[in-house]
């Protein structure tokens, strides 16, 4: 009888460029990753903090509902403020998840394997958070259904030529597909939890959620195909969503907004901010749950290179905006950009430029790319910088349009800041609840990169290594 060649002719998808030398077998994967599901004091403390922030945000929103939108910092004609800025910010955060899970999957980028689950969950919760802001922004949230574009008898005809309606379709499609993508990927892992669970109630819930998944070759075959096609359609979706969000601005004639560079500029910025948030989340997780040998320095190094690349794309877009204003010769545009960088809004513009364009250049240093503390601190500055990028896009344009008599200023109030803080509380509350119920690292995909147990010796079985964070970049 002919024997099968155990080295597959084409690699398993997740195996390219990544190995986990300190992970010996499948059982270790299950034991160590599911150990992160046990609640700890630090987790309860973090949840309490998140819920406190959320409570502050809810209180401020209730106050705004009671008093009216006047308590927010709107100052005509600046009628888009912190709520729209924060909406765009959270939509942007939501981009890295599908980028990492779909686009990097298609490109066979192995470093995605251990971080994509956290990034996908982050996407879903970020888009959920973003979805709240148009409702908060309208001031009368009980009439939010007026935003839904369906034919009705209120003389609010659905206007399909409006970018705002495009946005409704783009964001809701993105939320649906991201949630589907996350859940489909979770099914085999929920089956693992079901088979380990001793509590009958939890076991019944997990059995229901796993849809009776049995790990048959047949199930895996269709699963892999479906996952591939979901990744294939999610890829253009990622690019389209923030393009459509950018149309909200670019379709207007307002100085600073009416430019064709906005779609790629927004997409690159969204991916950049999303990767920043992935670092913010994944670095504490790998430390607190002892998962450093899963999310290794090699993974962080590779993700940091992607962060550097997107930072440079964003930096290039900033420069091109200035160039277009200068070369286009439109006085209003030139005046606006001067006011943005050296005038009224210089402080916001320089926070943006420093955090998004200058500080990430440190990632050219291999040593800093492999320093989790530096990456985490940098990710915080990226989050701040990307919020300010949206501030710089929204506020300076509206406060400095064509007519000088319209020029004004804008200052957010405590209500704006409280609701912004509440959005972080809302986001982290969901994320913390997620990581205590479901595996934050994909069990089945990690098992794909762990060498299987063999009767005959595996040609490429690595030695079990304790130094899974080698000083030598690229080791293992």
């Amino acid at each position: 009888m002919a024997t099968i060649a155990y080295e597959p002719k084409r690699p398993n998808i997740a195996t390219a460029n990544v190995q986990l030398p300190a992970v010996r077998d499948y059982e270790q994967v299950d034991d160590e990753i599911t150990a992160s599901l046990r609640p700890t004091k630090a987790w309860f403390a973090a949840l309490l903090l998140a819920m406190s922030c959320l409570a502050i945000g809810i209180s401020a929103w209730m106050y705004q509902i009671n008093q009216g939108l006047g308590v927010a910092g709107y100052n005509p004609p600046v009628m888009w403020g912190v709520y729209i800025i924060t909406f765009v910010f959270w939509v942007g955060i939501g981009h890295a998840g599908t980028l990492i899970s779909a686009i990097l999957y298609l490109f066979r980028a192995g470093f995605r394997t251990t971080i994509y689950r956290a990034a996908e969950a982050m996407t879903v919760f970020a888009v959920m958070t973003a979805g709240l802001f148009p409702i908060i922004h309208i001031g009368r949230p009980w009439k939010f259904f007026w935003l839904i574009p369906y034919p009705n008898w209120r003389l609010l005809w659905p206007q399909f030529k409006s970018p705002l309606i495009w946005d409704v379709f783009a964001i809701s499609t993105y939320l649906t597909i991201s949630t589907t993508f996350l859940f489909v990927g979770l099914i085999p892992d929920i089956a693992v939890l079901r088979d380990r669970e001793k509590n009958p109630t939890r076991r019944a819930i997990l059995a229901f959620l796993s849809f009776g998944w049995r790990n048959t070759e047949r199930e895996w075959r269709h699963f892999a195909r479906a996952y591939l096609f979901l990744a294939a359609v999610s890829t253009p979706l990622v690019l389209s969503v923030h393009s459509v969000v950018s149309f909200d601005f670019a379709m207007a004639l307002t100085p600073g907004w009416h430019t064709t560079i906005f779609p790629p500029y927004f997409v690159a910025g969204a991916i950049f901010s999303g990767i920043g948030m992935v670092f913010t989340i994944i670095i504490p997780i790998r430390k607190w749950f002892n998962l450093k040998h899963y999310v290794t320095l090699n993974h962080l190094d590779a993700a940091a290179k992607l962060c550097l690349f997107t930072s440079m794309v964003v930096g290039c877009a900033y420069m091109v905006e200035f160039f277009i204003a200068w070369y286009g010769g439109v006085a209003a545009e030139q005046d606006y950009f001067w006011n943005r960088v050296f005038g009224q809004w210089w402080w916001a513009a320089w926070i943006m430029l420093t955090c998004n364009m200058i500080l990430p250049l440190s990632l050219f240093s291999q040593k800093l790319r492999r320093n989790p503390t530096w990456l985490w601190m940098l990710s915080i500055t990226i989050n701040i910088g990307m919020w300010f990028e949206r501030f710089v896009i929204v506020v300076p344009s509206l406060s400095h349009e064509f007519e000088p008599w319209q020029w004004t200023t804008y200052a957010p109030t405590w209500v704006d800041y409280s609701i912004l803080l509440g959005s972080f509380g809302w986001f982290f509350m969901w994320f913390l609840l997620f990581i205590k119920q479901l595996p934050v690292i994909a069990l089945a995909e990690v098992k794909e990169i762990v060498p299987p147990r063999l009767k005959r010796a595996h040609a490429h079985t690595p030695d079990t290594a304790d130094d899974f964070e080698p000083e030598t970049p690229g080791a293992h």
Partner: protein
């Protein structure tokens, strides 16, 4: 369903057993594996998954629906904006694309469910929780007369546990 379940610790043992089972045509083989492996695909030689067709049909239907929805609503509630035609295909491409992705992706998931035969109400015979953890399983659906030869074959290839189920 009656058959024999073999429980393997090693991947190559399970693959060898499948290859010989297929060669001897002892019965339908179902493989349980904690993670997808191309080695099993090579041994079982299954047909290509038809899930891609769901994507195609769902996506095209969604695209058509997206354009139709925008055009129909615009014509039914006509409102001239910016001197443009009532129905203009360029802005409506956004709806064509978004609904293409939405329906296409949901159809793909439906295809996965249909062909992977999930949701499944019971685990049926031939499943063991160890197969989601790290071990491999081979379920051979055969008649009681074939039990002995199937068991012998599975044991020969290194099954650590073999049991008949009915």
């Amino acid at each position: 369903m009656r058959g024999v379940l073999g429980h393997f610790k090693e991947l190559d043992s399970a693959v060898d057993a499948i290859t010989e089972l297929k060669h001897k045509r002892l019965g339908d083989v179902t493989v349980f594996t904690p993670t997808p492996r191309h080695e099993f695909e090579a041994a079982v030689q299954p047909p290509t998954s038809p899930v891609r067709r769901y994507m195609l049909v769902g996506g095209l239907s969604g695209c058509i629906f997206g354009y139709w929805m925008a055009i129909w609503a615009s014509n039914y509630w006509p409102l001239v904006v910016g001197g443009k035609a009532i129905s203009t295909w360029i802005p409506y491409t956004v709806f064509g694309f978004e609904v293409f992705v939405l329906v296409g992706a949901l159809s793909t998931v439906a295809g996965l469910f249909i062909h992977a035969r999930i949701p499944r109400l019971t685990m049926t015979v031939g499943y063991d929780p160890r197969f989601s953890r790290g071990d491999y399983g081979i379920w051979v659906e055969c008649t009681p007369e074939q039990f002995a030869s199937a068991e012998a074959l599975l044991k020969k290839h290194g099954a650590v546990e073999v049991r008949g189920e009915r």
